[in-house]
Symmetry: C2
């Protein structure tokens, strides 16, 4: 029987594996670890990497927190009554030095309530400063392969969900080239409205594992492939503006970030997603027919990369 | 009889006066103007100053927009039925080059609905990268003087409102040393729940004018007084981190910004408030007994600066 502790232990091991893979590919920087306690119970293991050969600032965070639902959490979850909760997961964001290497984000999580409701959620999405069609296609193919091992509908559904989730309404832009996003995947036979009618807890966990384990091969490939591409001041300027958009999405629209900040989560762990430096220029317009303009034209929902 | 057009015209003139004062004190940069149309009617005059002697990036924006309430606006205003609206105001944020010069924000606004509801709102608040007691005291005294000309309770009430409004819950810090903030000041005899029991439209407008007209003398004084103070890399580093906090407040918590972004306002005018550059460092802690640490200790609600 798959327990919440099994899931949490798995996430912890996955954090180790991912950190090792990033360190090897980066070749210089090592993660610094911070262990912290949560006010209602449990805690986390935040790992931050800075000033590497390839990564400028990144985090790979594990947490397992539990306790009685606070008023804020009860409201967020729209619960009629108090119950104990258990939440565990990994969150990753990597900001590379080079504008030719994409920013990446990954999250896998499991939530369980003492009233019998439980679900999995997660996703991976890629934010290239410059969209490279070959990389975007390859990235989506890796995600499709990971999904197809479990459910031939999953990629299509979760790719669309990512397009809608990683969207910046006030810019009418997607954050990047998307990926997959899923939430409230409730195991068959458990309490609460079902989002699937056939997957057991084990089935969903196997799927989440495939997504989680796809991260390291995907990102280390993109790191190694792109880190040697030369760039100049112009590309750095563009990167700083794209990072500004990343900040705008995370602080103004990302429901995960809002949830964390509003339910008294650990601020420094949540905001590790913010870049080391970001710029804002009033009404910046890329030059006509530039790679920057082309990138903007590809930050749209509904692009079938495969 | 004071009409909405009179109020709007006044704000437009105030924009001219403030831009002139900042340009003279800066001594180098000039505001660039962008005229824009709003989708439901009216428009704005956005003015941006960059790369001056003192100001690195700042905006002084005037707008007068009108039309039928959109669904988003109706929801935001909690209106039972559709009505035409008219909104006019000025918004200002200035990010100086020197960390020794404070960031400042000012807003004055008037809102009127065809169903008879109308109100004034606004405020000024100061965000020093380094809190200088003398400047904070002087700043609050200027605001108190402006308030006291009209109502001896106003400063106390609106200072407290500013402490609560310009607050970053996830950091447990105020944005800066506060100032005054007020909203929903509804004229005597107009529709809607009254927030005051004695002020006519003319009385409130006179008060708003005093606040608006206090801006230029206040900020040009602080610009001129502090711009020549020497600083080094350490102070610049701290400034970049404080600007990060400014971004966090504006994108995650500022109701004005959220309102604008969610009701399809002009994004570039709203986000002129963001700094040209901001930094984030994981779990940055200032040195013990440093000026940075002292500043953090003063970013609290309820400090009586006068």
């Amino acid at each position: 029987m798959l327990s919440k502790e099994n899931i949490s232990e798995y996430f912890k091991t996955l954090q180790d594996d991912i950190c090792r893979a990033i360190e090897i590919t980066d070749g210089k920087a090592k993660f610094q670890e911070d262990n912290w306690q949560h006010h209602s119970g449990g805690g986390g293991r935040t790992r931050i990497i800075t000033n590497g050969n390839i990564i400028e600032k990144g985090g790979v965070n594990f947490s397992v927190v539990m306790g009685e639902t606070s008023d804020a959490l009860q409201k967020q979850l729209k619960l009629d009554e108090k119950a104990d909760y258990f939440a565990t997961g990994i969150s990753i964001v990597q900001h590379p030095i080079s504008p030719m290497v994409p920013i990446i984000h990954m999250n896998v999580r499991y939530f369980e309530m003492s009233n019998g409701i439980s679900w999995f959620g997660g996703g991976i999405d890629l934010t290239p400063h410059y969209v490279v069609d070959e990389d975007a296609r390859w990235f989506h193919q890796q995600l499709k392969d990971a999904c197809d091992k479990h459910d031939f509908d999953a990629y299509k559904k979760y790719k669309e969900w990512a397009d809608n989730y990683f969207y910046i309404p006030h810019r009418q832009e997607t954050r990047g080239v998307g990926g997959v996003f899923f939430d409230y995947l409730k195991p068959l036979g458990t309490k609460g409205e079902q989002t699937n009618d056939k997957n057991t807890k084990e089935d969903i966990f196997d799927f989440v594992k495939s997504i989680g384990e796809s991260f390291a091969p995907i990102y280390t490939h993109l790191m190694a492939k792109n880190a040697q591409i030369p760039y100049g001041e112009e590309e750095k300027t563009w990167q700083m503006l794209r990072r500004g958009r990343y900040v705008e999405f995370n602080l103004a629209w990302d429901r995960g970030t809002k949830f964390g900040l509003e339910t008294n989560g650990r601020t420094e762990s949540i905001l590790m997603s913010l870049p080391p430096v970001a710029n804002w220029v009033y009404d910046y317009k890329p030059q006509a027919n530039s790679l920057e303009e082309r990138t903007l034209s590809l930050l749209k929902k509904g692009i079938d990369w495969i």
